[in-house]
Symmetry: C2
Subunit: 399 residues, 2 copies
């Protein structure tokens, strides 16, 4: 049940101070010296920034080890080492998808995210364990966040027979997006992999969000095959390529024609701003009109120890990776973790204008760039018009 | 006046819990169930990690805008744009070196650093303003930190006549290290620049720490010239190359012979773990026996908005840049911000063994890697045997 809420003395996007009246979970009025009616909640902004809720557009809620004893990582260097290590140890480590995703979701929410797109593992060892756990969690966490599920064949789609049938099952169960992974490097059958995932999209009328770690020429080849299918199947605006390291290649003759077609077909790009890999050039993609979102990827999991779900920190990583220094550049990094993410997730009513859903973040700072570089813990998070976290403490307690 | 201090129930380097007795500013005893004598201070560790004080081996204390109104950055893209913008605006922006360095030093100390090497601008517009300010500051901050000064010709040594004379003046005034900068790219006279800075080293019997942003072949050429002079002048172990982006070149035929000679001449490397530039391969350098340190570089200055002086966060950046994921790799990132930094700065008595200086950090965490990725604000910092910061609050207040 959404509350009516008067937020006083906040600075939307670091603009002049104002008041914001929230009614039925939506922004009803923005103006000066609004008066509360009897019984209305009042939140004193104290001159803090008012920002739209952060959009966590790429994570793996079922992988986190948050709240578990420290995991000593001794895993080998290849992508397949990490994939196999995780699949073989999930149950042993007690990585219950409901519990772990709940922990990460509360963590994300209390740091300001109001929307999550989560890839969820679908494999022959675990079946629907992940998807079912996340679906239960998102029901229980509905008050604090919206979660979208990508059915994700992490261990490969074709190299492990039976996985495709499970992908069908996941889509029937309620996954909203079809996932995929490195058609050349992991499944070693780009035509087979891409025909399968695009086929799933066609069968269930859903969008695609495919992991593509493949670098350079190989990644460009896979991108080209994705473009070809997106065009042929009329899936303009319905495809996201996550990571897309290949777009960080310095070979402009290879990359520029791809960027042109990505723009034409409105194919979105997700980048974490990875420091150790080539990365998509965010400013160039945005200038071409391509939607660019970001995400935490795995947080504190068997893949690596990093991450905390803070999408303001993620904006910093995107900024650092793209050598953003000027305030107008920092604004691009902020867009990536807010409005651009909302466009990728096709969120209706996102923003801080009248009529938008009251999914908001109140945080101290002098400017939008300051919010990113200072990352104050004194955040207040509003979801559906209700304050759901204050100074790092959520209204929900994870199991 | 150093205090006697009993630190109870801490885990040195995440090992078994123990007590540590500090006497006259040095670690006197490490053992179980030590008893305080009358009047001795007692610090209850509560099972937290005990780590050596963090080493900030590359920063610019005179550049920070900490505590100033937000600086809206609209600076051009070239290195020279940033250099000129800063020099022309320093006084206008109120960047008093004493005040600003004091602010950053307190910030560094409260986050766990116990030693700082700071480059300090020497140029014809500001003369000794920077060096004098930092020297006054380090006297006033002596209780909480040790600061080493590098005389740094930020605006170029030869391209701005009069700068070399000021470098002499800075060394006479008390700078401990000779600095330098991009012999090709900035001064456009590699022989002239390097002869001048090595000449300063010879005249004053001091070590060299030279900024080298030059990429690829150009940077390799400058590195080769530095190696040549280090060898010819018998300066083994007395040279640090900061940034050394060229060592991140993928051309092994270019880089491997350089690494071999850097090791032979014990030339140290400083890397910030830069996400947007090629970076020295930390694991490979350490394996070759090369000392590798790190630093925050500029914090919240006219060059860019990032940074907070947290050397645990810097270890994270080094880890992310080098794709460190395993615990044994995270230990390397930790070494870089502690023991390796101490070796570069030639700190006597550094460490957490009996007899070492009691320059320590107490921080919650399950493992060393956890300290890096969690970066708890609940830190206690000990300098010369005295608790100088607790939960982010320093015993000193910056002006």
């Amino acid at each position: 049940m959404p509350h009516d809420l008067l937020i006083r003395n906040v600075r939307p996007m670091a603009g002049p101070a104002t008041d914001v009246l929230v009614r039925d979970g939506k922004i009803a009025v923005v103006g000066h010296r609004l008066s509360p009616v009897a019984g209305m909640m009042v939140e004193e902004g104290g001159g803090d920034l008012l920002l739209p809720g952060l959009v966590e557009a790429h994570t793996h809620l079922d992988k986190s080890l948050l709240g578990q004893p420290w995991y000593t990582n001794t895993v080998g260097p290849r992508l397949l080492d990490k994939i196999d290590n995780e699949r073989l140890n999930k149950r042993r480590l007690g990585m219950d998808p409901y519990q772990q995703s709940f922990r990460q979701t509360v963590q994300s929410s209390r740091l300001g995210s109001t929307h999550i797109r989560s890839h969820v593992d679908v494999d022959t060892d675990h079946g629907m364990w992940g998807v079912e756990g996340i679906m239960q969690m998102r029901q229980d966490c509905h008050d604090i966040i919206d979660v979208e599920i990508v059915a994700f064949p992490q261990s490969g789609l074709l190299r492990r027979p039976g996985t495709l049938a499970l992908m069908h099952e996941a889509m029937k169960l309620g996954a909203e997006i079809v996932g995929g992974l490195d058609p050349c490097a992991i499944d070693r059958d780009p035509k087979g992999h891409l025909d399968a995932v695009f086929g799933l999209c066609q069968t269930y009328g859903k969008a695609l969000d495919i992991h593509l770690h493949e670098p350079g020429e190989m990644g460009a080849f896979s991108t080209d095959l994705i473009i070809e299918r997106t065009r042929a199947l009329g899936m303009r605006g319905k495809v996201t390529i996550s990571h897309a390291f290949c777009l960080g290649s310095p070979d402009r003759d290879l990359i520029d024609p791809l960027i042109e077609q990505l723009a034409e077909l409105d194919i979105a790009i997700m980048t974490t701003g990875p420091a150790s890999r080539p990365a998509p050039p965010v400013k160039k993609l945005l200038a071409a009109g391509i939607r660019v979102c970001s995400g935490s990827d795995g947080i504190r999991d068997t893949w690596g120890p990093y991450g905390n779900g803070d999408m303001l920190e993620r904006a910093m990583f995107v900024g650092l990776r793209n050598n953003f220094r000027r305030d107008d550049e920092m604004a691009l990094a902020f867009d990536v973790v807010t409005g651009e993410g909302a466009k990728v997730m096709e969120l209706a009513g996102y923003g801080i204008a009248v009529g938008c859903n009251a999914d908001l973040l109140i945080v101290p700072g002098e400017s939008v760039a300051d919010a990113i570089v200072s990352r104050s813990p004194l955040r207040r998070v509003i979801k559906r018009g209700q304050v759901v976290a204050r100074n790092g403490v959520s209204i929900l307690k994870a199991p």
